[in-house]
Every structure is written in structure tokens, then in C-alpha cells.
Amino acid sequence: MKRVLIISGVVVIAALIIAAGIYLRTRRPAPAAQPSPAAGVPGGLPSAGEIPGSTGAGGGASTGTSAEISINKPALGYVVLPSGEIRYVQPDGQVVRLTSVSSTVLSTTKISDVLDAKFSFDGRKVLVKAGDSTYIRWSVYDIDKNSWRQLSIDAADANWSPRDYRIAYFARRVSSASLTLFDLSFNSSRPRTLLTLNGEDLTVSWAGSQRLLFGEKASAYVPGNLWKYDLQNGALSLLREASPGMSVSWGNGDSGILFTGRASSRGGTLSLINKDGVELQTFSFTTLASKCNFFTVGTSTLERIVCAVPRDTRSFSLAALPDDYFKGVLNTVDSFYVVDPRAGSLTPLPAATALGADASQISVRNNRVYFINKADGKLYGANLGN
């Protein structure tokens, strides 16, 4: 009898452990009970109206040596290599290399109606989108081979993996959309369908090299969902549901920046989220996720965030976001900051701020912040430190 009881006890304990495991696995993680840091609170970030160095709307004065225009021509997309070499795509589709001593046109091929250009993680390939509202053409330029390849894909948007030559996009079908990966390492490669949905007007981005985030295109006027697809095990999960204006900027780690519009269709909030969509911190300043980017310094793996924050906080909070910004109804003059999410600190970047730019495509390389000024389409650079 004693043996039976002991065996029963062991079985019960095992059952309880299994039950607890299943429960923990299936429950949705609760949001972190972290209050939004307020100005003056130790470790907190200053509120949007109290950003250090803010001078209100309008252009800033140049500080001279630490900030300058890097390319005195409009650029649609760019990359800065560790060597300091800059590669960029002109609006006519030509690809140009710029070093400290020379400027070289790598691809002389002109492309009509170029809409967008994105460099791969290492700057050796360029994905170019061209066309009009009725027909979109995609091509990729291999800088090492000096060759163009036309891509037979029907997609409204496509994005490079942050660590290799795969692109992700939604391929449009007659009555469906396929989440697709296309490895552009080789000319013989073919697209690979991951998922087929009935969904309409979807867009996909990378959250690290093994996760994709997808959902509806963002608008302040309609709610959207944000889904996560794990490339390693095919797991799908819903990160955010029924929120307007959502857009994400992701680093190489497990956290990203999420902009969410308000139910009033005006303004929005910016927060740091983890890979499960759990909010780690709500920033007390506001900007679009596309105006922020993650970066590391030297050999450190700790990611910091650089953000361009509109100085005219009132106009920004009254705008329908991101709609008004993308249309050009709202243009911004930005102040630049480095956010250390662990310390909760915010460091102003006066050299970049002094440029008085409306920043997009922000990146950091060799202790300098680079961005394209939406106002003139040109690439600017400024020292991070001062």
C-alpha cells in the first residue's frame, strides 16, 4: 500500500509540474508594471515639451565642423560602410560610391520612376522599386558583380533581412497574399512561400534575422493588427490587436520601438517592446518609429537608440499619424537624442540637431549619425559625441 501511495504521489507531483508548465506556456505575458517615466523622475525621460536643447519649431543654427551635408545631391537610399565609404542611389537610379578622395558612379544605368532604394545589410546589393500607381517593378543591383537582376515579383513593399541577402514581402495573388522569402544570394534562387493568407494591403518587416512582423499598412484612421512569424519554427502569434497607426523599428536584439496612434486619430505614443509585444517602457517623447534606429558602439552588444524628435510637439500631437507625415501635410524640424533604454537616459545630439532637418533613414556608423533630410532629399552626417 505504501508503495502505491509513493508512486501515486510521484505521479501527482509530475502532473502538477506539467500542468504548471502548460499554464505558463499558454498564458499571455502580463504587461510590465512599469510606469511611464516622467520628467524629473530619476531614471525617467523628459517629457516631449521639456526636451533638453529644444528651441521650438524652426531651423537651427549650424555648429560648423561637427555636422555637415554628406552628399550635395538627393539620395533615395544609402549605406555607410565601416571604412567610411558611402554608397547611395540617386533618384535617376544610378548607384554612386563616395569615399574621402573620390566619387564613382558604380551603376550608370538610369531607371525611370524610381520610388525607393534599399541597401542590404553589408551594402553590397541594392533593392530598387520603380513604377507608378498601376505597376511596380523590382530589381536588385549586385555591386561586386556590377550586374542588375529583374525580380519577377508582384509586391507593394519588400525589405532586406538585417543579416543576410533574403528579402521578405507579401506576394499579391488574384485572391490571396503570400508571405514570401526570396534569397538573393544567388541568381538561380527562387521565392519561397511561408504562408498564404486572404489578407489585403499587408506589409512585412524584420524583427531580427529570425522573426518577421506583419500587418496592415498603418493609418491613424483605422485599426490594424501586428503579427509575429517565427522563421525557425513557423509559430504565429498576434502581438498587437486593433490599434491605429502602428509602425515598428527593430534592432538586432529582442526589442523594438513601436509607434501607436490614438483612438482620436491624432498624435500617438512611442514605446519599447520586447519580442512578445510586451511594453517595456513608454517614452515620454513622441516621434514616429521610422525616425528612430538601434545601434551599437565598438564591440559592445548593448543596443542604444537614436531618435529624431519633432520640436513642434503641438503640431505633431495634433496630426493624423503617420498619414499626415507620409503625405507631406506635416513636415518636421527634428532634435536628435540617443536613448539608453537600460539606464533610461536621454542624451541630446546638438550637432545633428543644429542642422534643423526633417530626418528619415537614420543610421549610426563610426560615431556619426547619418540621415536623409526629407526637406531636400540630401544625406547629412553629424558627430554623435560632443
Binding site: 501511495l5 502532473a15 499558454t26 493568407l197 486572404n198 499587408l202 483605422v222 509559430a235 504565429l236 502569434s237
Partner: protein
């Protein structure tokens, strides 16, 4: 010894109940219904935002269901579609439908509802969609130092496939200039006598000749400030 047996029996019972509840909770994860849609209105090809509907435009709506970590094949499911609580379409495998946005009486918003009465005991979802008006934006600098410059006029949310199906009417300080290949782009050359500090009022009216009341106007003022 009897007390010992009773305690163990209670523990066994508690364990079985816990296991059953946990497994039950896992099995009862509700399916997620996802309505997506695309408005058939015009936006510029480089616009990164969402294309939104206007009165009398069409929307293609689609439904997906996520259940147990996978999107479900709905081809054999009965699906019903409703707009503002009125039935519009339905049938087996009707995963998408075309919805005509009603006229001005319903401006401000639509409510699309999809129902799958036979799936998991019946599931449904409602999606609000804002209905906007056509819009036009003039992209131009506040000040201009050159006496020759180009500005751009961008129409949004017109009920056409291409900007070439719209009428662009530019007005520059009372003059009615013509555009050439691209109606969006207007090249402006100021008279050599134009003084610094002069404000140049510019307006653009865009109309859909095939759309009732589909029109929008934008106004800007550029200050000529030669260096």
C-alpha cells in the same frame, strides 16, 4: 495511516483537476478573426501610408482566422458579410467580398462585420473603417531663392486608377499655367522684375471628371527670397 491515505487521495484529486483545467484552458484558446481590406482609391505610388476609401468607392475585404497557431483553410466554411449591420454577401468559402461605400449619408465611417456561424460554435468580427474625402497636397518650400523652381501637387483618395484620369487646375498668382508630361509637376519661372520678399500665392484644384463631387483644393504661399 488512514489520514495519510486521505491526504494523498486529496492531492491526487487536486492534481487531476489542475491538469484538466490547464489542458482545458489550452484547448479553449479562442480563434482570432482578422478582417483586412484594400480601398480602390488613388494614392501616389511613393505614398507609404494606407489607402483609404471615399464615398462611392469600392473596398475589397477579406477574412482570415488564426486557430491553434495556424491560419485556417476557410474554403469549406460558411461566411456572411455585413455592412453597417446589413447583410451584403455570403456563402461557402466567401473569404473576400467587394463592398461599395455608400454615399454622403454614411460619411464618417463604415462598419464591416464578418460571421462564420459554423466555425468553433460561431465566430464573428466587426471592423470600423473611416471614410475620408479626396485630398490634394502641394509640396513646396515656404521660401525659394531661385527664380526657377518646380513644385508638386499630390492627389489622394480619388476614385480613379491613375492621376492621368484627374483634372489638375493650377493657379499661380492669378495665372493659369499648364503642366506638360506629368500633371503633378509644375515648373515655375518668375519674372525677372520680381522683387525679393514677394509672396507668390499658389493653388491647385483637382477634380475627378467622372466622379460626382470628387474635388479637392490646396493653397500655399511661397516667398521669393533671392540670395
Amino acid at each position: 495511516m488512514k489520514l495519510f491515505k486521505k491526504i494523498f487521495l486529496i492531492i491526487i484529486l487536486a492534481g487531476v483537476v489542475s491538469l484538466g483545467l490547464a489542458l482545458g484552458a489550452k484547448g479553449q484558446t479562442a480563434p482570432s478573426v482578422w478582417i483586412t481590406w484594400r480601398a480602390a482609391t488613388y494614392t501616389p505610388a511613393d505614398y507609404r501610408g494606407r489607402t483609404l476609401p471615399i464615398d462611392n468607392s469600392n473596398i475589397v475585404a477579406a477574412v482570415d482566422v488564426l486557430d491553434r497557431g495556424r491560419f485556417v483553410d476557410l474554403s469549406q466554411q460558411t461566411i456572411y458579410w455585413y455592412v453597417n449591420d446589413s447583410y451584403v454577401n455570403g456563402g461557402t468559402g466567401m473569404t473576400r467580398t467587394v463592398i461599395s461605400v455608400p454615399g454622403a449619408a454614411d460619411r464618417g465611417g463604415l462598419s464591416i462585420r464578418v460571421s462564420l456561424p459554423d466555425y468553433a460554435g460561431g465566430i464573428a468580427k466587426t471592423m470600423p473603417i473611416s471614410v475620408l474625402s479626396p485630398q490634394v497636397i502641394i509640396q513646396a518650400p515656404a521660401t525659394e531663392s531661385s527664380n526657377k523652381f518646380t513644385i508638386r501637387g499630390l492627389p489622394f483618395y480619388f476614385n480613379v486608377d491613375s492621376k492621368n484620369n484627374l483634372n489638375f487646375a493650377w493657379d499661380v498668382a492669378g495665372n493659369k499655367p499648364s503642366t506638360y508630361n506629368d500633371p503633378e509637376l509644375l515648373n515655375i519661372t518668375l519674372d525677372s522684375a520680381t522683387r525679393g520678399g514677394t509672396n507668390i500665392p499658389i493653388s491647385l484644384n483637382v477634380t475627378n471628371p467622372n466622379g460626382t463631387f470628387e474635388t479637392a483644393e490646396a493653397n500655399v504661399s511661397i516667398t521669393y527670397q533671392p540670395q
